[in-house]
Amino acid sequence: MRPEGNLKRQETWEAPPEPKEHMLRLILPATEAAVRRGLASIKHGLSTDHYGPDELASLEIVLAEALNNIVEHAYADRSDGMIEIHLSQTPKGLWCTILDNGQMMPGGEPPLGRRADLNCDIADLPEGGFGWFLIRELAHELEYVRESDHNRLCFRMSIGQMA
């Protein structure tokens, strides 16, 4: 995968330990269609020699939720937002960092993402709120920081060639 775009914020990105091959950077406009294309590029860019179908599925679920949250919430009030994604494989797994210049998460904290209670009538079933539950279920060491005018979300997926 070709490194893309504007790296002016690279100095704010703390490199995960010993990043080696499988480095991937992507910058995309904050729209649902661009997120869809970005996910396809990432899947295409990560060799199936190193990642199994289940591993790529986990990654796609988590990235889709995190990126669509940015489109829908962080950039809710604007249409010119950009999202920057860094992926780096280490022996512990694939580290993902997602940067955006949108609004801070409410209260400066990512949602807890509790499992929805389904013990109810069909009419009362929840139609949303599954996103953060899925992220927290599948991602590890999740960290969110608001740095001056941008958001940084960092987490590790236990995928790839593990030591």
Partner: protein, 114 residues
């Protein structure tokens, strides 16, 4: 978002043509499903055989489709890909829906009876 459907005596089989139900098409999917259940028989079978990926918006839209059925009408699912099945299992939505391994398995009883 393209949905096709095929009607049998008492079941309408709705197939998703596209390979994902995600944030980009969830609302459209919900609206089209609603129209197809409104005009459909008592049993609606949603064939997800082409759907390789479903995110939380897509899941919400399938739940909305379940909530939109008429009194006495049933929405069932068939042919979930592993990734889609995983999202249903993680959120425990697999306990809410009747899920068939394939369309053939879901309509077997009808085919034999007719």
């Amino acid at each position: 978002m393209k949905l096709t459907h095929q009607d049998f005596d008492d079941v309408r089989i709705v197939s998703v043509v596209e390979n994902r139900i995600d944030a980009a098409c969830a609302i459209q999917f919900k609206d089209e499903m609603r129209a197809l259940s409104d005009s459909g028989p008592a049993r609606i079978l949603l064939d997800l055989g082409n759907v390789e990926f479903l995110d939380s918006s897509g899941l919400g839209a399938v739940v909305a489709a379940l909530k939109a059925v008429r009194n006495g009408q049933h929405l069932e699912l068939a042919a979930l890909h592993p990734t889609v099945q995983r999202v249903f299992r993680l959120t425990r939505m697999d306990t809410v829906f009747t899920i068939h391994t394939s369309v053939a398995a879901a309509v077997e009883g009808i085919a034999n009876a007719s």
